[in-house]
């Protein structure tokens, strides 16, 4: 299992990286936890790899204007264990701790996971629930993309071949907001059969804000807006949560594979949505 030959570049700055991508038919290497296994299987055979692993600007964590800016090359371990992230945006830290295993969390990156857009990856559920924004940079221009427009299809995102993700922008959680990520883990791979990320804020005895992100059920992660609408304004009783959770698979074309049929996935999604909301309340 040896990858096909390729040229290798390791830029030291974002500018060098986007110049390399503008001038070459190249693919970006972050932590490599998804790309390298695909290259070994020769399902991916890039002619040129641009390794972002040594760009210091891409591993920063900063707080600015009520938002947390997480560099795209932060490893899952860094996101899971950063005191600042745990305090300001606990949902993304909790989700990062659920990804893969210890070795994968030491290498795999936030931006790499987002760019790979595996339908069973953990991060996308949290990113949807957090209404994250993704900063994409190419030579001479940059843009911000809402996470809802970012995930296009399974393994497909809005990122152009000459763009890189430099950071993900997440809201700093307001006081009184509870969060939780609940996942049914595929025992061999650690991927989510279904994973649900929830954020709930109570005000005056009622749910004032609810955000629910779901991974594993459909071709892409999504925000379960039907669940959110049923929760907001309710008192968040067990009955309210059960009713709202039943809406999680509305309008979703549920995936089916040898691990879980589409009917089973729908069932698991409802159960885990209720669990995530209860845990967040």
């Amino acid at each position: 299992m040896i990858p096909q030959e390729f040229n290798y570049s390791r830029p030291g700055t974002v500018q060098e990286a986007v110049d390399l991508l503008a001038d070459n038919d190249a693919k970006v290497l972050a932590g490599g936890m998804s790309l390298i296994p695909l290259m070994k299987l020769r399902l991916s055979a890039p002619e040129h790899l641009v390794d972002l692993g040594r760009i210091p600007d891409l591993t920063r964590i900063t707080e600015n204007g009520g938002c947390l800016h997480l560099g795209a090359l932060l490893t899952h371990h860094q996101v899971a264990t950063s005191a600042l992230v745990q305090e300001k945006c606990p949902l993304i830290a909790e989700t990062a701790a659920h990804i893969g295993d210890a070795q994968v969390r030491n290498m795999g990156t936030l931006g790499g996971s987002a760019a790979h857009a595996d339908p069973a990856a953990d991060y996308p559920a949290a990113l949807c629930a957090l209404e994250a924004k993704v900063r994409l940079v190419r030579r001479n221009s940059e843009r911000l993309v809402d996470i809802g427009d970012f995930f296009v299809d399974a393994l497909t995102t809005d990122v152009e071949p000459d763009e890189i993700i430099t950071e993900l922008i997440l809201p700093v959680e307001e006081a009184g907001t509870g969060v939780s990520y609940q996942k049914l883990r595929q025992p061999a791979s650690g991927f989510a059969i279904v994973g649900v990320a929830a954020r709930v804020r109570i005000s005056g005895g009622k749910i004032a804000m609810a955000r629910v992100g779901v991974t594993g059920l459909g071709a892409t992660a999504y925000r379960a807006t039907g669940v959110e609408a049923l929760l907001e304004g309710s008192e968040g009783s067990q009955d309210d949560v059960a009713k709202a959770s039943a809406a999680v698979d509305e309008g979703v074309d549920a995936l089916s594979d040898l691990h879980a049929s589409s009917d089973y996935r729908r069932h698991v999604a409802r159960v885990f949505t209720a669990r995530a909301i209860q845990a967040a309340l």
């Binding site: 040229n7 490599g32 371990h77 030491n106």
Partner: protein, 156 residues
């Protein structure tokens, strides 16, 4: 086209010309001759190839040797010092934390990091921490015992 890499492996500086597609596990086993890290599944599941890169455990079958350029690598061969087994190795020996031994190099490396990050792990934390290492012989109970014993030793 080959690329030059400089690495420190178990305390020794090395410079080699490698193809960018050379995986770290193949570099360690075939170029350096360190046969401690094993190739098990080759799909980054089993963890037999686990080594420490700058002190953090990684699966060397899912890394390119060029990604390790300029970095510090420790393999299972680097655990013992001056003929003295590392406390993690001793604990696996004393607690019978292995049968065939194929997964052991990876188990030892992951355990070293696990108890460094969490000096007093519970059974559940040990099992969670070793999710990336598969053993097909022991049923894991003796491995969990060995990790606990190693933690007690290292923690004093």
């Amino acid at each position: 086209m080959k690329t030059q890499i400089n690495v420190r492996i178990n305390g020794q500086e090395r410079t080699d010309e490698v193809e960018p597609r050379l995986l770290l596990i193949h570099y360690l086993r075939e170029v350096i001759g360190l046969k401690g890290p094993h190739i098990g599944c080759e799909t980054s599941i089993c963890g037999a190839c686990t080594v420490a890169l700058n002190g953090k455990t990684v699966k060397s079958c899912a890394l390119l040797a060029v990604q390790a350029d300029g970095q510090d690598i420790v393999t299972v061969e680097g655990l013992a010092t001056d003929g003295q087994l590392h406390p993690v190795q001793e604990a696996f020996w004393n607690e019978h934390g292995l049968q065939c031994g194929f997964c052991t190099p990876g188990m030892l490396m992951t355990t070293r990091e696990l108890i460094e990050r969490n000096p007093q792990p519970t059974d559940e934390e040990i099992r969670h921490g070793l999710e990336g290492n598969l053993c097909r012989c022991t049923g894991y109970q003796h491995i969990v015992n060995a990790v606990k014993s190693a933690a007690a030793k290292v923690g004093g």
